[in-house]
Amino acid sequence: MRRHMLVGGAARRLIGPFLGSPEGRPFPPNNNNNPFERSLRQLSGAGALPQLTKDRYPQVKRRDFAELNEKHLGYFKNLLGENRVITDKDECQGFNIDWLKSVRGYSQCILKPKTTQEVSEILKFCNDNRIAVCPQGGNTGLVGGSVPVFDEVVLWTGLMNDIISLDENSGVLVCQSGCILENLENFADERDLMIPLDLGAKGSCHIGGNISTNAGGLRLLRYGNLHGSVLGVEAVKADGEVIDCTSALKKDNTGYHLKHLFIGSEGTLGVVTKVAIQCPPKPRALNVAFLGLESFDDVLACLRQAKRQLGEILSSCELIDNPSLDAVTSHLNLKSPISVYPFYMLIETHGSSCDHDEEKMHGFLESCMSDGLVRDGTTTNEIGKMKAIWELRESITEGLLHDGYVFKYDISLPTREFYSLVPVMRERVKDAVRVCGYGHLGDGNIHLQVTLKEFNEEVLRIIEPFIYEYTAKLRGSVSAEHGVGFRKPKYIHYSKSPGAINLMKQLKVMMDPKGILNPYKVIP
């Protein structure tokens, strides 16, 4: 029984814990489910606070929202009790700063509702009184979407952490939106199921935040994105009205599919309070291969082979270029299992039978070698080694930080062009310590990184807006999985047509006419 556990979800847990941000920088341990203690500790340790957003971005003006007064606070305290309304300046700090420490708001009020009804009453009151609200979950976003820009009231979902039900026949799990992803994973794991979403920030991020940002992650290739696996959503509109779309049905074509409006809209159309998510059975067989390749053409051919030969068991297909791996091996003292190549691929399978999967993996590797695509590699289904291989991929973000300042871009490109941006950028930014690319090859999502000794405004102007124009020319997306948040609304037009942006604006006006929900974000 114990062995069986190790091969299944426990292996996933073992493989995952060193993961950190959505790209992999480890978070400090967070056992008490309270990210703010962690944030405070970090802040007091780190010393310098990021500049206030209002000062760093003076062109962004505070809109005509009410200033919070005693009467408002009185209402909140009456509704939630003293303990669930935070006004202490130090306690508010952690809620005001994003994980990357790139933006800082100055909210003086954090609300901690426990129920949908409380969220509804908060929003109704805020809407009536024109008080701006910033919904926040685990605060692990990378585009400044989860912290206030000015003094918006923070609505924190962390106490909404009940798992409501799990139907072991259909695999549908229903829970409140503040459940931490890793807790859900453990819960599903005990029932031989898995959550169809896995990302570095799982120890801190909330499922409601994952849904609001349509988070992607490492195994999207296999389990699809949240528009498919989230069967239902309950959300509260700006005026406090509860919209119940928590159908737990796989098929339900009655009317407009409204749940999709709340998946990926980053809290600008409503606050997600409840979720129904489809959990697949957890795999009983895991295999990982790490391959060395000579050229990007070989990488593409290898990807095609993997799709053809590993078919339904392929769960991850990641690309790492040599400079990315070098950041890990030279800065973090991790060892690559194979010699040096321009490109590496990490391929993982999830399946239900060890023999079957191993045979497939072997057939795939053999034909890749016969075709001369793969020069060197290693494959394993031993947990310790699988973990060591994943660690190479997951530690890249952390390794790059040792170079100095990192410009990070999260871009979708047609697979053919997946890597084309990297050499172009290397040519443009001659002063860079490193220009490298890695990411979810199977999903066409590359993380392009440019590192410098320290931040340099001139280099920024060499990179932007060029990188967005280049991406737009190839019909890619300027934000593949990180979202738009506060930092990217002005680039949205590179990826969306004027008509589409206009319809977004109309939807926003209709669902949140006073614009109180997560203002200054997403919509340009």
């Binding site: 045979e359 590797l365 053999e366 020069r375």
Partner: protein
């Protein structure tokens, strides 16, 4: 794709610690990595060699010898052209295990596979298995025999070149086991799964 005349798959097996990985690294990279950890799973690499002016590609699969990591199964043996069974001449237990490895080879590998017994670590002074004992074992089981030192680079090149030459000869006389891993079609077969007693009752 580069140009080559033959491609052969060579698989190394044998107990943990006998030096399989060192033999491969010595041959493919000219290195002797000291203090190497145990191989877990299977490592694989390509080495192109020239035999009589013709390019031959060797696809080398280096497997884990440790019982608990022995992930190598049927599929690895089945398509091998050559199997190198390695023991350590300074370790009697690694020699004593050879019959177990042979049983596995008999069970899974093609009967035409080229089999080579290798006594490794001849640089060591504490030899436990005399060369003639190894040779006699190899003869009895219809295998080639060679003693090597990955550390001193003795006979390593020779081992793999000999294999390449032999396999080429075999291939020319069409005596090579043939297989094609890509040759899968959708012409499946259908088998009826039923409990006959139950069916007869229904009839």
């Amino acid at each position: 794709m580069d140009d080559y005349k033959f491609l052969f798959k060579v698989v190394l097996v044998g107990n943990a610690g006998v030096g399989k990985t060192c033999l491969v690294r010595r041959f493919t990279q000219g290195l002797f990595p000291p203090g190497q950890g145990a191989t877990i799973g299977v490592d694989f690499m390509i080495k192109t060699v020239e035999v009589g002016n013709e390019k031959v590609k060797l696809q080398i699969w280096d497997t884990a010898g440790q019982e608990r990591f022995r992930s190598i199964t049927q599929s690895y043996y089945r398509s091998a052209h050559a199997l190198i069974l390695v023991y350590d001449i300074s370790s009697q237990p690694t020699f004593d295990c050879l019959p177990d490895w042979l049983r596995e080879i008999e069970e899974y590998a093609s009967n035409k596979v080229l089999r080579i017994l290798v006594g490794n670590k001849i640089d060591r002074e504490d030899r436990e298995i005399p060369a003639d004992v190894g040779e006699e074992f190899a003869e009895r089981h219809n295998m080639y025999y060679l003693e090597t030192s990955a550390k001193e680079s003795d006979n390593v090149e020779k081992l793999f070149m000999q294999i390449a030459e032999d396999l080429m000869k075999q291939a020319r006389t069409r005596d090579l086991p043939r297989y094609d891993s890509n040759n899968q079609t959708l012409d499946g077969k259908t088998s009826t799964i039923s409990d006959s007693s139950c069916c007869s009752r229904l009839q």
